[in-house]
């Protein structure tokens, strides 16, 4: 198991155990649900990373996996071993597409978000321009990406 995946598996396992212990000690919903959200969040990231990594590294043959499955399961899940191929082929490496040119849209998008937020406090004088600016930003940002 690659370290990128194990990272989130460890978080999920820890919070799952802590959450179960917490529930049976306290029967308190808020904290238990918060633990639960971390378990779900880490499971989401683990599944996403696992999906992205599929096929990026050779699987051990079946006999070897059978032999090692009990002995090495814990170590492979929470240990610090690394696949020897990772040095040359990081499992989640993305192609370097270069640095994007400067763009005004991040600043405009943030301004739109701030205006909408201020609109919740002060009313339509802020959120209406914020919504329009947000729509313009969405168009401008996407257009810039596909250009």
């Amino acid at each position: 198991m690659a370290e990128e995946l194990r990272f989130f598996v460890r978080i999920g396992l820890f919070t799952l155990v802590a959450g179960v212990v917490y529930w049976f000690l306290t029967y308190e919903w808020a904290g238990t649900l918060l633990f639960g959200f971390v378990v779900i969040g880490s499971a989401f990231f683990a599944v996403a990373i696992g999906t992205l990594m599929r096929g990026t590294r050779p699987r051990a043959d079946t006999e070897e996996r059978q032999r090692n499955i009990l002995v090495d399961a814990a170590y492979r899940t929470i240990g610090f071993a690394e696949h020897p191929g990772d040095a040359n082929h990081p499992p989640l490496a993305v192609a370097d597409e270069g640095i994007p040119p400067s763009s005004i849209w991040p600043l405009v998008a943030a301004s739109a978000a701030a205006l909408v937020g201020l609109g919740l406090v002060f009313g339509a004088w802020f959120w209406f321009p914020g919504m329009i600016l947000g729509a313009v930003t969405a168009y401008g940002w996407v257009t810039e990406l596909v250009r």
């Binding site: 802590a18 808020a30 040359n88 490496a93 994007p100 991040p106 600043l107 943030a110």
Partner: protein, 540 residues
Amino acid sequence: MAEAVASSGGHRGGVVDWLTTTDHKKIGVLYMATAMAFFVVSGVLALLMRLELAQPGLQVMSEQRYNELFTMHGTGMMFFFATPMVIGLANYFTPLHLGAPDVAFPRVNALGFWMSLLGALTAFAGFLTATGAAAFGWTGYPPLSNATYSPGTGADLWIIGLILSGTAAILGAVNLVATLFGLRAPGMTMFRLSIFNWNILVTSALIMFSFPALTAALAMLFVDRNFGGTFFDAAQGGDPILFQHLFWFFGHPEVYIVILPFFGVVTEIIPVFARKPIFGYKGFVLATLLIGAYSFSVWAHHMFATGAVNSPFFAATSMLIAVPTGIKFFNWIATMWRGKISFQSPMLFCMGFLFMFLVGGVTGIFLASPPIDFAAHDTYYVVAHFHYTLVGGTVFAVFAALYFWLPKIMGRMLDERLAKLHFWLMLIGFNLTFLVQFQLGLDGMQRRVANYPSVYGSENLLSSIGAGILGLSIAVFVFNFWRARRKGAPAGDDPWDGYTLEWWTTSPPPHHNFTSLPPIRSERPVFDARHDTTTEDREG
């Protein structure tokens, strides 16, 4: 050295260039500059508070104004100084440590910065309203923060500002995780990452899992205040304790969000100035992972006094978190052991960090014990513990990072004598300010009060004098920085004979960071390349 790029990119350019940049280094500089600006603003608020507290009675401000000052001091330091400083340093140095040209999502990175800045300005804009800024403490507990007890727009602006900057932090964290996983140079395996980057990875995970709880709590509070919601209104079937759960499920990991990266900074600096490899690389990684994990299970030690939480569970987990922190301390000391230690300014600030954070950590273990917490809750003992943890763990390490990395960022050295003057003034001023506050707390002085009985007068005067010295030390740093920008000595590419990849490129680095990279065979590739060592003969 010969392979380092010759051309210097620098951080120059017009206003439009800065407003539209997607370069991680410029965004990092923007984050750090903004963070330092809010550090100064929030520090001035603290000085005003200490001015008021120098003598019993009300001298310079009303109690309402005092409430606004301590609220915005805490908010400014936690949300608009410490967290953006973490993301700023990570923005600048994470890609450099990885051998990457930029972060994974440069435009989202820029969006995060602008949201963070506008969020901070929104929260502080409360001072411009007729009713003043938020005045219920940086924790914002209802019912004090509800519309009945905190009417006015300052509180709403505080909520909106924090939601904006919290969202920005989440964007930054996702970006950093994607960068760490997806943009590593060939040879840079996970266990060749710098310890700084490991700490940034864990910190990013903490942000991703804890900030949504804060955002949810603030959104619910906003609905309660403005749209007739009853989430936290006990009279209508709501539960104010729920806010505390949500807030501290964010709030305690937040403490580690602003400390873990600086554990990483210190772990990068100490080996360079001790001329030794890190002792126990994987021990550091394990300790970082354990601190990150435990930080999610300790939140309700802040709520012992409510009587509504399971004290033994949270006491046990809070005490357990000292174990991985102890591992780190052991490893830092072992790294220095029999090293050729050079006490230049970055190392001096690391020493300050070690001793001050140790005091903060040890006093925290006392507070993890519910009987002691019941007695010390909401007293100056907590204020002192908190500041030893966060000023010791964050501010000393921020200055260690700045003295270590500003030569890389600016291409110029800061003056070493001024840096040492800054350190000693800061160490003396800080201890004078906060050491007496332990005694004030044990004597029973409540925090968050503008007036107090005269029996506490002498300790408060001493504390206020210390705060003045602390403020003076920051002025020395600002002068040193200004002077270095004008006539600092050229830094060269690698003024410290450093270990990690940022020292392979020019100071400041060019737009694409690197034109070539050394072979990466360990967590200190630049040292390996310059001294022709291999991984096998220095595994810690």
